[in-house]
Amino acid sequence: MEKAISISENPFYKTNKKGANIKENAVVGLTQIAVILIIAILFIILGIIIYQGREKFSWEFISSFPTDGMTKGGIFPALIGTFILVIVMSIAAVPFGTITAIYLTEYAKENSKFAAAVRFSIRTLAVVPSIIFGLFGLGFFIQFVGTGMDSAFNNGQLHWGQPNILWASLTMALLTLPVIIVSVEESLKTIPRELREASLALGATKWQTIKNVVFPGSISGIMTGTILAVSRGAGEVAPILFTGAAYYLATLPESLSDQFMNLGYHIYIMSTQSSDVEKTMPIQFATTLVLLILTLSLNLVAVIIRSRIRRRAK
């Protein structure tokens, strides 16, 4: 009996048994509402953007240049610029990220301070605001490396010391590095210890084991990481604001030292700095739709590959 009294002090049991059930349901319902609300918001965003963007969205829109002061025409150069950006970015970030992940899973000792520091910096890298990467790109790549390259090879003529694709891609590579490292590390961990031990027992050295056993097993993880990084890099705008994105270019970029147009940046300038925001509304929604399709479908692919890796782990 004593126990029953102490339970009754519990806010859930202040009423009779039936009332308690109602409260129980109300609490569960509240959490359910939160879930439904979030999912509803997500689909409302998707729905509105698809609905508003669908009239302009066509093959012609994707494959033609903007015309009439960007009030008509397509987004072809922005799309190509985004592609070049993510390709150069992947070339820089994927090997780097893969090697770091291999270090963390294969070489790092259990209680190594160095490995802990590496892990901490990767997590920090993941939470640093993207605009800081933009500032770093400007301060380091453009002002320091670029200007240094100019004075060394170019007789001080301004060539590399200004915003261009290369610097923007490298800046973006730093931003997406944690994404790649985390996915590769996750997939490396799913490779059974027995495989490694079998390889070592057969007389292979550690490096041979990594090269011939561990690395082939992590290909799917590298792919997931790359896809997620590409999806992130395609959507980020802040890091390229002052490291290479251009308002409008009449031609496609020809070399790494050219500026480029970018989908996300295109949305930003069209909606804030366009001469006629109202008139170009359909173009803006269609551009947003293209960007959203790009990032979401990439993510979907990554999620599918990732769930396969997880199944392998089980």
């Binding site: 339970i7 609490v27 770091t100 605001p129 802040a238 308002y247």
Partner: protein
């Protein structure tokens, strides 16, 4: 212990030793030095972002020479005053703002006093449209700066020292007027704007995301869990520019129709949009924390006769508090440094008021919108980099707290150490 193996006779001590292989050695060294790079990047980011803001701290003579070199290398000797359009230099083929190239450089045109506070709406255009003015008119308006200017023309060294002093004194003022004859860099106005947006965003995002996490980890069936989790995490895949665009085009109009306030883009809209960006982060981390609570906790609570809801809110949630705290910290970090949403949805006016329906300007948005038109080496440029280093330090500390403090607590709680 039988120490004498017969095998020892065929293998010498030397041959049993681990052989030195160059390829092994190199592979390990190369791989760990690549891993070291990620530590180096963190330092480099801090050093190079902070380095550009150094002129602000230079009261001595050493750096003065440096700034002088910088300004001459930029071929902008007369560029001490800020109202100058340098955008052409950085962006060779800009399409919009056609007046930029057409407008002749007028010296001493009186236009400047007409719009002293230009950053209200669109800095990019209003600033570049402003003709370059060179002091003659402003002389009677603020004598303080003109003396500064003359000093600079004659002798750069003393001019810059006064400039550095003055910049610091304006940091705690409430006005952010970087482009004027008497530039004021009131970080206070920006700080309040940033805080306002962050608080609004967290008030919306934290309860929603945590409740959703409680549902997924405590109440939902496994099948539902597998549907809900990827969908909410899909929200994280939305680029921030898309969320900003949606807030600006749809949410702003929607909420204005409901509440009927004046400025269409304001702190509230920015906060709502940033909540969308913060929800997946808070949700994922709190869900992990809630799922990490040992099953025995739940079982013990249920065995004692508690209901599912009681177990969730009085047993699991308290046990996962450190993790949820970390989730909120990282959510704050995300909102605090979010640039594109702030640029597009907050209205970008540095007003000082407590009203959530007024336009605000955040730190990150200030950097994003003003960096393109500053001149390398000038005070405004340094101030923006200084704000950048503040943001970096802030997010670094948030992450460190989330990492060390929270992890330590969790381990103590679950393992009883």
């Amino acid at each position: 212990m039988n120490s004498e193996f017969p095998i020892k006779k065929t293998f010498t001590k030397e041959s049993l030793k681990k052989q030195f292989r160059l390829s092994e050695f190199l592979a390990e060294k190369i791989i760990s030095s690549v891993a070291f790079l990620s530590i180096a990047i963190i330092f480099l980011i801090f050093i190079f972002v902070f380095k550009e803001s150094l002129p602000l701290f230079s009261f001595g003579k050493k750096d003065k020479v440096k700034t002088e070199i910088q300004s001459t290398s930029n071929v902008k000797v007369e560029s001490y005053n800020t109202a100058e359009s340098s955008t052409e230099e950085n962006q060779p083929e800009t399409y919009g703002a056609p007046a930029e190239d057409l407008e002749p450089e007028t010296y001493g045109a009186p236009t400047e006093d007409l719009n002293p506070v230009t950053q209200e709406a669109k800095v990019a255009e209003s600033e570049s449209l402003e003709p370059e003015s060179y002091g003659t008119v402003t002389e009677d308006l603020n004598p303080e700066t003109t003396t500064d200017q003359e000093v600079v023309i004659d002798e750069k060294v003393t001019g810059n020292i006064e400039g550095a002093d003055k910049t610091w004194s304006t940091f705690f003022s409430t006005e952010w007027v970087p482009v004027s004859d008497n530039p004021r860099f009131g970080l206070l106005a920006l700080l309040i704007g940033t805080l306002k947006v962050t608080i609004i965003a967290m008030l919306i995002a934290a309860p929603l995301a945590i409740l959703a996490a409680v549902y997924t980890s405590c109440f939902a069936s496994n099948r539902r869990k597998e549907i809900i989790k990827p969908i909410i995490e899909m929200l994280a895949a939305f680029p921030s520019v898309v969320i900003g665009f949606f807030a600006m085009m749809v949410l702003a109009t929607f909420f204005q129709d409901i509440f009927g306030y004046d400025s269409r883009l304001n702190a509230f809209i920015g906060g709502v949009a940033m909540a969308l960006a913060a929800i997946p982060i808070i949700y994922t981390i709190s869900e992990d924390a809630l799922s990490a609570v040992p099953k025995t906790f739940t079982e013990a609570s249920l065995a004692l006769g508690a209901s599912k809801a009681q177990t969730a809110f009085f047993v699991i949630l308290p046990a996962a508090t450190p993790g949820i705290f970390a989730a909120i910290l990282l959510g704050i970090g995300r909102v605090f440094g979010e640039t594109m949403i702030a640029l597009m949805a907050t209205g970008n006016a540095a007003l000082l008021s407590a009203n959530p329906f007024e336009s605000v300007r955040t730190f990150a948005a200030t950097i994003g919108s003003e960096m393109a038109e500053t001149v390398f080496g000038e005070t405004h440029y340094s101030v923006l980099f200084f704000i950048g280093s503040l943001l970096f330090i802030f997010s670094f500390i948030l992450n460190a707290v989330a990492e060390f403090y929270v992890k330590g607590k969790l381990i103590k709680k679950f393992q009883g150490k």
